[in-house]
Symmetry: C6
Subunit: 79 residues, 6 copies
């Protein structure tokens, strides 16, 4: 794994809206998978697995929820 | 996946009541699944799987609890 | 699922005591399962499954712990 | 399940020391299992299962860690 | 289980450095397993299981991460 | 396991950028696995397992997300 891969688009946790914060959470979660499995072909194959697996879809939701907790706090909840 | 999908209804974490906050947590959790598996037919089939599976129902509860932690803090716990 | 189902008894996170906060955490966790699987007969059957399964009982404990984190913060830890 | 079961010994999150806070976390996690599976004989049997299962022991550790997060914050980390 | 087992070395969450905080997180996680499975021989056997199992090693990482969240906050992040 | 292994590069949670914070989260998560399974050959073999397993890749994402929550708070979210 090369640590030089971009792990946070824009290198900032600050976003204009909650929607953008949510999109960032999804991207950050995906980039961890990308950096752990750099082979795009393998990732494509695994995508076919988790997209059809209820338990894995729920687990993805859990990961995004955790990432979002951090992003929301960083943005003071866009209050 | 298209990031243009609405991920937070109303694009705000602020709700009038805890009940509405809880409903938002459920919706946000579902929208992550929707954006990861955009095919409504597949999602409908998987719903039949997790709704009959005790372990998955518990896992859904865990995800909603995590989303709600963020929403409740955003609303200063509706104190 | 109908979002009109009551998801938080009393529609408040504030409780008089930690004990009541803990009871609220249990109820909130259950209500997510209820709203995801509205069929009482199916839930009754699944209860028989998770109540005899060590891994699922532990997972329920994890979910309640997460719900309680939010409730305890809302109540300023009943200090 | 009867909600009248004691869920937090002493009905308080405040403890004199971190050690006592840790013990409280363990007890709180156990009491959720007790209230979900009130049959002492079944719980005894399941204890034999999880005490010999590495994955379940790790999961118990995760639950206690989450409970402790709340208790430690309640006690201002015993600083 | 005897609650008199030492659960936090030094009975304090305060450490001099992040490194020591991390070591404390590992020890605290282990002590929960020890108190749940007091038989050293069984624990030794289970160690052989989880040390060769990728999923369990990841789960151990998750538990340590949660313990460390508490310890880091207690130490005001060693800022 | 030797506790003298370096668990946090630089022995600090403070980083210049979110990107570096994310890299630190990945490293910290890996170092827990390293300290739990010190045999590099075994770790290499297990890497081949989790890098091809969708559920494990998601679980790694969950662990990194939890580590990052702590690091982001330590850095006051790089605001």
């Amino acid at each position: 794994m090369s640590e030089s891969v971009q792990l946070i688009p824009g290198d900032s946790l600050i976003t204009a809206t909650p929607q953008e914060g949510r999109e960032l959470a999804i991207k950050m979660a995906r980039l961890i998978i990308k950096v752990t499995q750099p082979d795009a072909e393998v990732r494509g194959r695994l995508r076919g697995v988790y997209a059809e697996d209820a338990a894995m879809l729920i687990a993805i939701g859990q990961t995004v929820a955790t990432e979002f907790t951090t992003i929301a706090a960083a943005n003071n909840y866009w209050r």
